[in-house]
């Protein structure tokens, strides 16, 4: 079965959970065998894994005819694309896009991030998708998250192949209800055109059905999973510590509920002293949180690390005794699973999608700071609690595999191709 996937991020160059999830799912599907996946991203760097999917960069797909020779193409984009593919794509340019800002190869530049002119970039991406869809042979189209819905729709209209969209988050999650009308309309448009919608949790599925008015019959939940961690990451070393460490790891934004973590920390510190709280990550609420910690007079025990990348994340987890994710609204939330992989007991909000599948974590309402504080206290004070959560958590997360999620997605493909 041949699938054409549109995504925005792909490891190792990722900005959030979307890249990790797209990668894991693609790999998991490939493990089920008989899958030929082409993954389109705005801007490949050349160091992406190509073992289980062919990567096509939108920024190396021509939309305007340029007479360039093989060697030139090889020199320019050889690290990310086979020149032959460039010529194949060039043969399928379907309109005159010379009025656009194209480069020497007739390609549009992409940042591959989330720039201010994101809407324009999404639109360009969809133009490129038209070329790719006309060039390649595939059975199904799969769009990851709202940024790529227009591209998916375009590909569907060109080829008539079924479109699956994968909802990793909705604007209702990101904005606590204050949706951006432009984003909403792109999302809604994608959902309406899709032949099937995959959501990462039942929570998101309900949002899609209730807020976007979609027929429940065409919305299926496929929960995310995790990749087993490498030995190197599992064995990162951290300096010994004397205090217990409680960690919040993620973007410090309204969606993640950082203020509830600070309030709970203040309550715990009221009772026990040998605990340190760490808020790792960056975000628009960081300064507010620093002020809040100071106002609660716990700044001596409450630390901010700023944005952590790569290995730093795992070092932070390794040094932690408790991981906490008090998200107000979390479509899935893959990071507690990573914490569990590192053997860190986790506290998550009941309003997170991953709470639907996890048993060996403590689930609380994000607003119930008493319960959060109580859970933190329990884990750091009762060794049995820590050990049970740690060991059972490891065993549990070990069973949450991408190949199972991949099999479900393949089943959905099959049902659409009948």
């Amino acid at each position: 079965m041949k699938a054409l996937m549109f995504g925005w991020e792909f490891p190792p160059h990722i900005l959030g959970g979307l890249g990790t999830a797209s990668y894991g799912l693609t790999k998991g599907m490939a493990e089920n065998g008989d899958m030929d996946i082409t993954f389109v991203i705005p801007k490949p760097w050349g160091d992406e894994s190509k073992d289980f999917a062919r990567i096509i960069g939108a920024n190396s797909t021509p939309v305007a005819w340029r007479d360039v020779n093989w060697d030139y193409v090889q020199a320019r984009i050889g690290n990310v694309m086979d020149p032959q593919l460039y010529y194949n794509l060039r043969d399928h340019i379907y309109g005159d896009f010379n009025y656009m800002n194209t480069n020497d190869l007739g390609c549009i530049e992409f940042s591959g991030r989330y720039p201010d002119n994101l809407i324009e970039e999404i639109n360009n991406y969809s133009i490129v998708a038209g070329v790719i869809a006309r060039t390649l042979d595939f059975d199904i189209i799969h769009s990851h998250d709202w940024l790529t819905y227009p591209a998916g729709i375009h590909a569907k209209q060109v080829t008539g192949k079924p479109l699956v969209i994968h909802v990793h988050a909705t604007d209702f999650d990101r904005s606590r209800g204050n949706v951006n009308p432009t984003v909403f309309s792109i999302e809604k448009d994608g959902m309406t055109h899709a032949d099937h919608i995959i959501t990462v949790s039942n929570l998101t599925r309900r949002t899609v059905i209730e807020k976007y008015g979609i027929d429940p019959a065409k919305v299926t939940t496929v929960h995310n999973a995790v990749e087993p961690l490498s030995e190197e990451l599992l064995n990162v070393t951290v300096p010994p510590k004397h205090d217990k460490v409680v960690t919040f790891l993620g973007r410090i934004t309204m969606q993640k509920g950082p203020e509830y973590f600070v309030e709970a920390a203040a309550q715990v510190l009221h009772k026990v002293k040998n605990v340190q709280f760490v808020m790792a990550g960056g975000g628009d609420m960081m300064e507010k949180m620093i002020r809040l910690a100071a106002r609660r007079k716990i700044a001596d025990r409450f630390h901010f690390t700023g944005f952590l990348r790569g290995k730093q994340v795992y070092e932070m987890l390794k040094a932690s005794d408790v991981y906490i994710m008090p998200s107000v609204s979390e479509p899935f939330g893959i990071s507690p699973l990573e914490a569990m992989q590192m053997g860190v007991p986790s506290i998550i909000s009941k309003q997170s999608g991953c709470a639907e599948i996890l048993e060996n974590v403590i689930k609380v309402d994000y607003w119930d700071t008493n319960a959060i504080a109580d859970a933190i206290y329990s884990i750091i004070n009762y060794p049995a609690m820590y050990n049970q959560l740690r060991e059972q958590g490891l065993a549990e997360v070990d069973q949450i595999r991408w190949n199972k999620a991949g099999a479900k997605v393949i089943d959905i493909y099959r049902s659409l191709m009948k």
Partner: protein
């Protein structure tokens, strides 16, 4: 001839309120009175009371032929006395018919039999006293919390003077053997064993109203026929169940009460009797020995103790609890004794079970908590507070033996003081007699008002006693002080 032996379990724990860690050291009341009241009242009105009426009716109709046995935990009795006293009265009336036998068990429906033999014996005594005090019966047959049983328990039970014990006819113990006989314990051969017939018991308590069940609707004549058709040699069918089977697990609308009422009539047709456990034990001879090396129970698919001691959380909580057992038994404080009992209820550990599948759903059905982790956290917070209270009474850096001897001296001294006081009292009376009486030879001439208040100098033997009296008091005070100082 065959016989049916009915035994019903009544138990309710004192559920804990949400007890945050901020409360540790500040709040020493642990119980969710509202929930406890609510649950026991609801179950009593839907099940216990109507079921009692049913039994009374049956006994009235069939005379002494219909008999049942009860096992009611001490905590359930306390709740019933407090919230549904009419049930106690109803039970007394039922007892008066002479067709009801009470079984012995641990007061708190605890796991003491597995953890703390001394506590186990103490609780069984406490429970039997409570039963005697309320219903005037001295239990002769023992049944442990949730039918937990193994060879060690058998020995303890026999040494407490019980002739018989009740447990589950677990398949992995019985193998090809049938539960419909009396057995005896391999470890304590004089102890006879009655085994639950799981199939026939669960037909009533779990499957009766299940419309998916092949035998739905179950009728009394069919049921008695099943029993009648058992091989001739199988003489006793032990039907053990929770008393809330009637009206709660099987709702009134299912016809469970009518089913029960019809049983004796059909039983009589097939010449099947009803017996209480003690009758069975005195009338039937054991056919074989049963050896149970690892504890069994009547709970979950595995029929073992994993429902209470199956994971790290449960083991930790139970171990912490019983680690202070000896200390608590030294305490005299009534509140501590009471909390100690309530905290031992096996239910608290049942809520911490992390099993999945069908067993797991039973656990979460009964649990007042969202998750086993919440159950553990709450319990441990309460236990921490309880332990600090025990600690405050007797600091843990004095070891038990030392503490014991100190307590012994204090108690002996108290005794001594009491005796001396009594002596002083006697002497004083003598003096009063003397002063008013006749044999004052020399000094009546001395000024009177003074000697009345200060008689010490007057008589020789007395002052000695009087000085003797304050002395030991001071001593006890100092010993108490030293114990405190040793903190």
């Amino acid at each position: 001839m065959k016989a049916i032996c009915f035994y019903f379990q009544i138990h309710q724990p004192f559920r804990l309120k949400t007890y945050r860690f901020f409360d540790i050291g500040n709040d020493h009341y642990y119980y969710d009175d509202f929930a406890n009241d609510d649950i026991i009242t609801r179950i009593a009105h839907r099940s216990y009371l109507p079921a009692n009426e049913m039994l009374k009716e049956m006994i009235a109709q069939y005379g002494k032929k219909f008999k049942v046995a009860f096992s009611i935990s001490g905590t359930a009795l306390e709740q019933l006395e407090q919230y549904v006293p009419e049930f106690i009265d109803s039970m007394k009336e039922l007892t008066a018919t002479g067709c009801v036998e009470f079984l012995s068990e641990t007061y708190a429906h605890s796991l003491a039999s597995l953890q703390d033999p001394e506590e186990f014996v103490a609780q069984v005594k406490a429970h039997d006293e409570k039963i005697y005090q309320l219903f005037g019966q001295k239990p002769k047959v023992f049944r442990n919390t949730e039918l937990i049983y193994d060879d060690d328990i058998a020995a303890m039970v026999l040494s407490m003077g019980f002739k018989g014990a009740i447990t589950d006819g677990a398949k992995h113990i019985l193998g090809w053997k049938s539960p419909n006989y009396v057995y005896n314990s391999a470890a304590a051969p004089k102890l006879k064993l009655l085994l639950k017939n799981s199939k026939l018991s669960d037909d009533i308590s779990f499957r009766f109203s299940n419309t998916e069940w092949a035998n739905y609707p179950l009728r009394a004549d069919t049921y008695i026929n099943w029993i009648a058709q058992l091989p001739e040699e199988e003489q006793i069918v032990n039907l053990f169940m929770n008393y809330d089977t009637f009206g709660e697990l099987q709702p009134r609308e299912s016809g469970i009460f009518e089913f029960m009422k019809a049983l004796p009539r059909f039983a009589a047709e097939h010449d099947i009797q009803f017996m209480t456990p003690s009758e069975v034990i005195s009338k039937l001879k054991p056919v074989a020995e049963l050896s149970v090396l690892h504890p069994i129970s009547w709970t979950d698919e595995a029929r073992d103790t994993s429902a209470w001691l199956g994971n790290t959380l449960q083991n930790e909580a139970v171990e912490k609890l019983y680690s202070i057992g000896e200390r608590v038994r030294l305490c005299q404080d009534k509140r501590i004794k009471q909390d100690w009992n309530y905290l031992q209820a096996s239910d608290h550990f049942f809520y911490m079970c992390t099993k999945h599948s069908s067993d797991g759903s039973v656990h979460s059905h009964y649990s007042p908590y969202d998750s086993p982790y919440a159950a553990f956290t709450n319990y441990m917070n309460v236990l921490s507070d309880f332990m600090t209270r025990v600690e405050a009474q007797y600091p843990s850096d004095i070891d038990n033996e030392e503490l014991n001897s100190l307590l012994l001296t204090i108690r002996n001294q108290e005794h001594e003081i009491e005796e001396l006081n009594r002596e002083v009292e006697m002497m004083r009376n003598n003096i009063v007699k003397d002063t008013t009486g006749d044999f004052a030879p020399e000094e009546p001439a001395l000024p009177l008002p003074e000697p009345k208040s200060e008689k010490k100098p007057e008589k020789k033997p007395e002052p000695k006693k009087k000085t003797a009296k304050p002395a030991p008091k001071k001593k006890t005070k100092t010993t108490k002080e030293t114990t405190k100082k040793e903190k």
